[in-house]
Amino acid sequence: MAELTGNTTAPRAKAGAEGARAARPPAMGRRLIWLAVAVALASAVYMVYGAKGAWGFILPFRGQKLAAMLLVASCLSVATILFQTITGNRILTPSLLGFDALYVMILALLVHLFGATGYIALPTGLLFALNTAMMSLLGLGLFVVLRRGARGEMMRLVLTGIIFGVFLRSATEFVQRLIDPAEFSVVTSVSYARFNTVDPVLLPLTAAVTLPVLWLAWRMRHRLDVLGLGDTVALSLGEPPRRGQSIVLVLICVLVAAATALVGPMAAFFGLIVSALAHTVTPTERHAILLPSAALTGCVVLVGGQTVLERVLALTTPIAVVIEALGGALFLALLLKRKRA
């Protein structure tokens, strides 16, 4: 985020040099600052609203949840933008790659094998390691699909991911039928992202893995602009699309896998909503703007949503459930609105 403020002045300076003209692209830098302010506000409200008790307990307790939310929101939002850029399609999300489905299947299998109490007794570090290992395997498989495919490889990757996801979900459903109904409720409650039970050791570990990846994505921002122009144009400009797509796919896999392993599957619609909102707030294709814009928007949506849900409405429902429920409608509305514009 340090580069963020440094970058915001550039487009404004350039726009000023060109002189005032009708239909000129809007200055994006200021909008990024507003988004950052919104994140800070949402975070502040989340930290202090409705606090009863010793601050010495509340601040670290809430601070950890807040940090987890900011991290997960940034990872998933950036991953969605990256995925949409390499597929050239704005209504796709990396949850199509099947990481969520894999997480739920592992969960159902573990509950089936060890029972609900056995599952809860499992050390979180072990679960995290298992999930990360399985998701790395999945990522490797996707990578092989991408590198092996001849033409239309990105579409092939997406379709493979969708079919694999369907397979995993049916397998999960089968396993769930074998589970004791009482224990089944454990599966349903853990198969949505939860921030209440974030492990204090895993959080810094996840940050140590994902923050460098976010930084790499930021470093690639100009290359991403070119990759978004389509294969031929990118190649003509000296940016071979296959190589770029492979690198970006690795970044996406790490971001999504780490975030999912930390808190569980976030709603599929989360990334879509965030990317649609980010494109509305900062209508540009430049990743120098789009990546921070999406990350900040994601933080506003997640932290703001959680604050309203947890503090104002005093509900214990995971926010992922709410996003999943409302997300479809909101996303459709955004799509239709853009069609008309």
């Binding site: 100009h222 070119v226 031929t232 190649l235 003509s236 400009l237 000296g238 940016e239 294709e285």
Partner: protein, 250 residues
Amino acid sequence: MIRVSNVSHSIGGAPILHDISVEIPKGGITALIGPNGAGKSTLLSLIARLSSLKTGEIEVDGLQIGQVSDRELARHLAIMAQSTHVSARLRVEELVGFGRYPWHRGRPGPEDHAIVESAIARFGLGTMRHRFLDEISGGQRQRAFVAMAFAQDTDYLLLDEPLNNLDIAGARSLMRLLRQMADEDGKTIVIVLHDINYAARFADRIIALHEGRVAAMGAPQEIVTQDLLTDVFGTDAEISHQDGRPVVLV
């Protein structure tokens, strides 16, 4: 100069090009023509490294395709594909600006801005520079892409059937722009054309391909003949002449 030596290529087991060797000299417009399936687009995509070369060698300006880095090649060779569809929502000036990417890798300097400005002025895009690509006509869009290639400042420009989906006014104006780039800026332009008449009217050289082999090569006056139409295109259309250039009466 573009030198193609002993290039063969097959797609999915079906042979497309058979041992092609051809030299395209520096400067001027060279048109690749031929009936459907003759391999002209395949040959162009091999030179453009859109398809990977399996047999034979291709050199552009002394740089061997497959050996030299993409970054380096992007300063010598620009490509315009058949479907120049860009999914990103870009303004015209942004697209033209991307032409400078091989030179500045994301950090444009004053010289880059100056070149983009001159490209916008030269291709008459000043009034639509802030408009989005999906808001302008097909002809204007093609012009924006040519302006981008111009800003890329390469000596070589490859185009694959750029006249598809253009009406006669758009097609003629695009060909005139290319003619201008060849004459005034000394660019070497290789273009796949569907319509022999456009090739005969605007190109300096024509390479006719037939079933994956070079059937004829030379100036339009020399090679656009009744024999070519019969042997290569399998049709008996008549040929007339206008200002010394052949015209196929369709």
